[in-house]
Structures are given as C-alpha cells and as structure tokens.
C-alpha cells in the first residue's frame, strides 16, 4: 500500500506551517521525516491522519483521496503511533493493545476471542508478551513505545505513522525500537516516521524527507540527505559527516568539537 502526498499546504491563521509539501512512501518503505523542532512534521502527520482537514493539496492512499474517507475507513488503512505517553488512567498492557481493535468491534459490544488472539500475536511479534499483565504506566519508555506499536499492528493496517518513536528513550531502547520498525518495513508495512537523529535516520531509513520552514528542503535516499551541507542548512550548526564501515554508518559531529584544539586539551 502506498501513500502519496501532493502539494500540501496548511496554515494556522496567518502562519503558514506547511508550504507545498510533496512526498511518496511506497509499500515496504521506511520514510523518515527530518527537520528542526516546530518545522511542521507533526502537522504533516495530522493532515495525513485526517485529524486536520483545512489543508490545500491532496493525500492519496492507494489512489483514494483521504478527505473522502470516513473515520472508520481511515482507521482500517492507517495506524498512528504517538510518542510513548502517560495516559490519565493506568491500563494493563493487554488492555492497551486491545484498544487497537476498536474499528473491528461494534459500538455496543466488547472485543472477543478473535481480538485477544490478535493481541497475543502482536505482543509476541514485538517481544513484549511477558508484559501482558503489567500496568502500561509502570513499564519503561521503550516498552511503552513497543506497546503502542503492537496496538497499531492489532489495528491491521498496512500503513504506520510514528511520531518521533525514539524521543525520550535511552540509547539501547532507541536501537531496539528502530530495529523493530525497520523489520516491519521489511515485512511490507509502509512506514512514515519523524525523527531527530541524523545518524539513526541514515542507518534505518529507506528514504528521507527533509523539511525546513514548512518547505521540502530535500528528499531522497539517506546517502543524499545526510550530508554536511544539508545538515548545516537543516539544523543551523556546522557539522562534519564521517563515513564508516563502507558507508553503512555516517557519524555527524559538530565542527566546533573536532576543530577546536583548546577544547580537546581541556579533556586531558
């Protein structure tokens, strides 16, 4: 399933947040949206999800205009994975994942065995089956993120949208979560995620969309985007990009650190 964004513009009152943004995510692709804070990444996602409707341009999923799809139809096509959060009430991990089945269950009914089976399978897939009966607010941030991904799998959509899935996670959990996301893309899911870390973007994405001031600054393969010039434009600081392991990894280092001799001597 593919998703095509053509010429999306969105403004809050006078302020233009998105300006003629276009992008495509193909089946089995992991598209990362990068850019500084407040650049419109979340707004773009809200437009795709149908949570914001006052945008110009068009978003098509498998050729269908999203504006013509109802809430339930959208939920059958696209699942949203927010940043791991603390809800007002503590639900068990099982109950939390089960909520992903909402669109399959009649309004006046409760989920049954069929839905429970989906939950068990998704939990198994993401390696969180042992957390089944724990409280969602009592597990780690990385585990909470995996729970939310499991909830999206239970929703049985082929498109996943993740809002900074590694924000607020420690290093190990970031890698754990990104590995799972990448493996979902390999299984044929179409995935769009926003991210802050250029190194991880390079390692895990298939395509990258760089947004700056609401406009598309660049888009393409990670090797075309994670470059010294683009990183400087995007984040407004001088960055050295070093290629390692036959360009499997690129390391981004602030120029001020590698070229400042005084700085170095300060560590001795």
């Amino acid at each position: 399933m593919s998703i095509t964004i053509s010429g999306i513009s969105f403004s809050y009152g006078e302020r233009l947040i998105l300006d003629n943004v276009s992008a495509t995510a193909e089946e089995g692709q992991l598209l990362s949206v990068v850019g500084p804070n407040g650049v419109g990444k979340s707004t773009l996602f809200y437009c795709i999800l149908g949570l914001l409707n006052g945008f110009r341009g068009q978003i098509k999923i498998n050729g269908d205009d999203t504006r013509e799809l109802g809430i339930k139809e959208m939920a059958q096509l696209v699942a949203y994975i927010p940043q791991s959060h603390y809800p007002s009430f503590n639900f068990s991990v099982f109950d939390m994942v089960l909520m992903g089945t909402s669109h399959q269950v009649s309004s006046v009914s409760v989920p049954g065995k069929k839905q429970a089976v989906l939950v068990e399978a998704a939990a198994e897939r993401l390696g969180i089956a042992h957390l089944r009966d724990r409280g969602y607010t009592q597990i780690s941030g990385g585990e909470r993120q995996l729970v939310l991904i499991a909830r999206a799998l239970v929703q049985q959509t082929r498109i996943l949208i993740l809002d900074e899935p590694t924000a607020n996670l420690d290093f190990g959990n970031q890698i754990l979560v990104l590995t799972q996301i990448k493996s979902l893309a390999r299984d044929g899911y179409t995935i769009i995620q926003s991210t802050h870390n250029p190194e991880q973007t390079f390692m895990f994405s298939d395509r990258v969309l760089a947004l700056y001031n609401g406009k598309v600054l660049a888009s393409g393969a990670p090797s075309d985007i994670v470059t010294e010039e683009l990183m400087r434009k995007l984040y407004g600081v001088d960055i050295k990009v070093q290629s390692l392991f036959q360009d499997k990894v690129r390391v981004c280092v602030p120029t001020v650190v590698v070229e400042d001799n005084h700085h170095q001597s300060g560590f001795e």
């Binding site: 809200y46 949203y80 007002s88 503590n90 909520m99 989920p111």
Partner: protein, 342 residues
C-alpha cells in the same frame, strides 16, 4: 503483580458477580430495618404472596409498609447510587480526568438551582424534576462550551469552568433562598438541598425510572469504548472512533441520570467521585469491568448510607450530610494510600 483480568485469586467477572450478590443480600436486609418491625417469614410471605397463593398471616399495615414505604425507598437508593456512580465514572473517562464528577462539572449545582426555582414558584413534583433536569443540562452545556473556548490546558479549563458555573448557580440558589417565603418555601428548599430520600414513593420511582434507564443503558453498552476516549480525541479518532459523537452521547446520558437523581433526592455529593475510585481499586481502569462495578458499588454504598440515614437517630439524617461524612475521609485515604498513582 497486577493481572489484567484478575485481582489476587478472583477474576474481575467474579468480583462483579460478588458485588451483585452483595447488593441482593443488602436489599433483603434493608427491608427489616425501620421503626416498624417485620420478621423474615412475614417479609417473604408478603413478597411471595404476589406470585404464589399464600394465606395471609401478616397485618395489612405490614404489606403497606413493605410495598409503599420500604420498597420504593430501597429502589430509589439503589438507582440513585447506581446513576451518580455511573455518571462519575463516565465523566472521568471522557474528560480524561480522575477528578471529574457530577458535582465538579456543575451538573448538581444546576439541578439544585432548577429545583429551588421550581419550589419558589410552588411547583409540584413533576415541575421540580423537569426544572432540575433542564438547568442541569444547561449547566453542563455551559461548562462544556466555556471549557472548549478556554485557553491552555483543556482539562484545567474544564475544571475551572465547572467551578465558575457551579458557583454562579450556587449564588442563584442563595438568592432564591433569600426571597423565598421563610414559613414554608425556605425550609422546603433548605431540606431538599441537604439531600434526602424521604420523599420516595412508588410514583417517584416510576417517574425517574424512565430517564434513568434511557441514560444508563447506552452508558453500559458503549463502556469499552470509553477506554479509548481516555487516551484523547486524536488518538481515539485514529483508531476509528468518532470521539466527538461518542463524547456527546456519554455527556448527555451522564447528565440525564444525574439530573434525574438530583431532582428526586436533592444534593447528594461525593458518591460520583468516591465510588468510581473505589471500583477502580477493585477491578482496575478498564471500563468493561469498571462500569458495571461502579454501578453495583454505587447501589450498595447508597443503600447502606440510606439505611444509616433513616435508622441511626430518632429523626432522619439528610443523606447528603452522611455521604460527605463518609466520602471526604474515604477520599483522603484513597489519595494518600501507597500504591497506584493517579
């Protein structure tokens, strides 16, 4: 470790079943309480004579007391406890706020104003109820609309507009008391505001039963979906739930049952806040179990409190006073207890 469908050795379903059994036992015991003594054999004789031909061995007076005094009162206590608790649990879910309750959202203050206004205008039972209902819905609507326009945190906006609108209507009620005739209207309003079930008759029960059923049934049926709403509108929408519609439905139902309760019993506070929290301790936060548990715990709680209210002293203690005496310390215990954080 907390199990998703269990608490200790008991599954949530069996806890709910246990609560149902407890309710039935307490209902039966409540028939024996009162100034006029009735023995168990007399009680069962009176009840079963309606179904089986049993030769009357009790006084006609006893039958009147059972069917016209104690039965309506017991039913009303159960219904009101059930309604206020279900409304409280629902409000907490849809406003994503553990502190939400009929009192906080202005539903009770509005109903009180409406009833006082009707008493001032020499209204009968029906007009008191209709007026209470109308103003209760009006208050919640105002609170909801004001909070939607409030800047900043939505949850804080809701609580704040609840406080604002509640105190406005409370001032209105005070003004009505000021101009009310001190010989008959003022005592009627004052006593009514304290909350009491002493006016229970078969007619009042029949009157409130309809609006209560109309509100309770949808709340029970959509209970599982309230879980998803507690995560916020955006997240709920992406999971295929029309959050605006569902929220509106639940607000209307919860306000309807609150108004129906307040219109016959006056101001009974704390139940809508304390009972859902007690129920959360018993069956967890999943509304699939929380909703029926809150309804049953509410009925049990209110029936016990009402039994105390009519039997503790020679004169009846208004039930609103007792629920506050029980509710306030209990809530202090709940929020200071170690364990789950709200």
């Amino acid at each position: 470790m907390e199990r998703s469908n269990k608490r200790g050795r008991f599954s949530y379903s069996s806890i709910i079943l246990g609560l149902g059994v407890a309710l039935i036992v307490i209902i039966i015991l409540s028939f024996f309480l009162g100034r006029y003594p009735i023995t168990p054999s007399e009680l069962f004789g009176i009840i079963f004579s309606k179904i089986f031909p049993i030769k009357q061995f009790w006084l006609d007076q006893m039958e009147t007391i059972v069917f016209n005094v104690r039965l309506p009162r017991i039913m009303l206590a159960c219904l009101i406890g059930c309604c206020l608790s279900a409304a409280g649990a629902s409000y907490q879910g849809i406003f994503q706020n553990p502190m939400a309750a009929p009192n906080i959202l202005g539903a009770t203050a509005g109903a009180a104003f409406g009833a006082a206004l009707a008493i001032l205008n020499e209204g009968n039972y029906l007009t008191i109820m209709l007026s209470a209902f109308f103003f209760s819905l009006l208050t919640v609507a105002i609170v909801y609309l004001v909070s939607k326009r409030a800047k900043g945190s939505k949850l804080l906006g809701l609580i704040l507009s609840g406080i604002i609108v509640s105190s406005l209507f409370a001032a209105g009620t005070l003004f009505i008391k000021l101009v009310a005739d001190p010989s008959d209207e003022l005592p009627a309003i004052t006593y009514w505001l304290m909350g009491s079930l002493s006016g229970a008759t078969r007619k009042t029960v029949a009157m409130v039963l309809v609006p209560m059923a109309v509100g309770l049934v949808p709340m029970f049926l959509v209970r599982w979906r309230i879980n998803v709403l507690t995560l916020g509108d955006d997240e709920a929408r992406t999971m295929g739930i029309n959050s605006t519609q569902l929220r509106l439905l639940i607000i209307t139902c919860a306000t309807l049952v609150t108004a129906a309760s307040v219109s016959v019993s006056g101001m009974i506070g704390w139940v809508g806040l304390v009972v859902p929290h007690l129920s959360r301790r018993l069956v967890g936060n999943n509304y699939r179990h929380l909703m029926p548990a809150s309804m049953l715990v509410g009925a049990v709680f209110m029936l016990i409190v009402d039994n105390v209210s009519r039997n503790l002293l020679q004169t009846e203690i208004p039930i609103g006073i007792l629920t506050a005496f029980v509710g306030a310390p209990f809530f202090v215990y709940l929020i200071t207890r170690r364990g789950e954080v709200y």
